[in-house]
Amino acid sequence: MSIWQYANPVKFLTLSARVQPYLWASAAAAILVGLTWGFFGTPDDFRQGSTVKIIYLHVPSALMAINAWFMMLVASLIWLIRRHHVSALTAKAAAPVGVVMTLIALVTGALWGQPMWGTWWAWDPRLTSFLILFLFYLGYIALWEAIEDPDTAADLTSVLCLVGSVFAVLSRYAVQFWNQGLHQGTSIPVATGGRTVADVFFYPLVLCMVGFGLLFLALVFYRTGTEIRLRRARALRARALKEL
């Protein structure tokens, strides 16, 4: 039996029910411990002062914002190729989680940058790219809501996700070109995955990243279950109407 057995909605729901308690519990634990450790147990940075504590929110959320979109891309491809409804519904379920992660990344990024840059918002290439990603998420979600037929909605949003991904990458480079100014290798508040961060910050950061990842999984499992049930309820109602 391969992973494709979970394309069956019932099997998916069974798996989801078994797996979710562990996901929720470990996510809560990781996030709680990670944030507490980071907030209370780490020192201030020499240059950034206490704002370095924002790293424990900003990096994990930014990471999940990107990962969520990537997961939606894969799920969209699976839907277009193999027509598994569960796959399309996981993409639909993941989008709001991704958009919230993006929003958290934007807000924490702006707040982190404010003391360094002196303004509440600066068109830093990284933040700007996340703003564009935010717009892509909004468009994706809006398209799901606008199309009546669920299968057509799945089709159109999948193509949008594909095309959007290409343009998102393209935009990333365009934005970097557009504003090379602010961060020529100097103290960038956004660390790249923790490599450039000192050990004392690194471990709580990794824990928070793991926690956010587990939270994402828990939410996507739960929300996909919601979508499956809504779809089934809709189908049952349609069948009842036809028999009238």
């Binding site: 564009i132 809006a142 606008a146 193509v159 935009s171 070109f177 557009w178």
Partner: protein, 218 residues
């Protein structure tokens, strides 16, 4: 194929076809900018390339929702889907018609509007060149957006939300060409990027647009 193109062009030029609308909107936007930022010619001259690019982009956006929706309403879209012509060719022709009736007039009108915004001398050539190079991409990308929202009633706003983020790369490089041209700075990189984006989108977007139409109108 030519017949299809001529039909679209004729429809656009007829009364209610919206031909002059894009130009009028371009003019209005450019007129509003000094009211918004003040009349100092030095400021206007600095932002002129970007404002003109943005105005042209928004004017392109305006005429997109009529691109496919009208055909869908009167049933001719269904005919096109079953026609012997490949759907990719059909959407490419629609994009071409859109560019000829919207993008190209904007390119020609831009220098006149540049006068209003005190565009520096060397900027005129590069503004027109960058718009001429960039607006085809806007038409092709816009056709994709129109295909996505063809079945959505009053989908104009959704169309804007979907299409504007896709316009960002073209806008960045196009406006940069215009800006650098006006300032006399080297502009090979953005020019190449702009051309690359236009060529890439012209080649690839029709496949996505056709796929969307097939999926959406099944």
């Amino acid at each position: 194929m030519i017949a299809l193109l001529l039909r679209d062009l004729r429809l656009a030029f007829r009364a209610g076809g919206g031909f002059g609308l894009g130009l009028a909107f371009f003019l209005i936007v450019v007129t509003l900018v000094p009211f918004a930022v003040g009349p100092q010619s030095s400021l206007l001259g600095t932002i002129a390339p970007g404002i003109l690019w943005l105005g042209a982009l928004l004017a392109c956006l305006l005429s997109l929702d009529r691109l496919l929706a009208l055909d869908q309403e009167d049933g001719s879209l269904d005919l096109l889907l079953t026609a012997p012509l490949p759907l990719e060719a059909v959407v490419s022709l629609k994009a071409l018609a859109h560019w000829l009736t919207t993008g190209l007039p904007l390119v020609l009108a831009a220098p006149f509007l540049g006068v209003l915004l005190n565009l520096p001398g060397p900027g005129y050539l590069w503004l027109c060149l960058s718009l001429a190079l960039g607006t085809p991409a806007l038409s092709v990308i816009g056709t994709f957006g129109a295909a996505l929202t063809v079945g959505v009633k009053r989908g104009g706003l959704l169309l804007s939300l979907l299409v504007l983020p896709l316009y960002v790369p073209s806008l960045i490089f196009g406006a940069e060409v215009a800006r650098r041209g006006a300032a006399g700075q080297p502009l090979e990189t953005p020019l190449l990027m702009l051309a690359g984006i236009t060529c890439g989108t012209i080649a690839l977007m029709p496949f996505a647009s056709a796929a969307v139409l097939r999926l959406g109108l099944r």
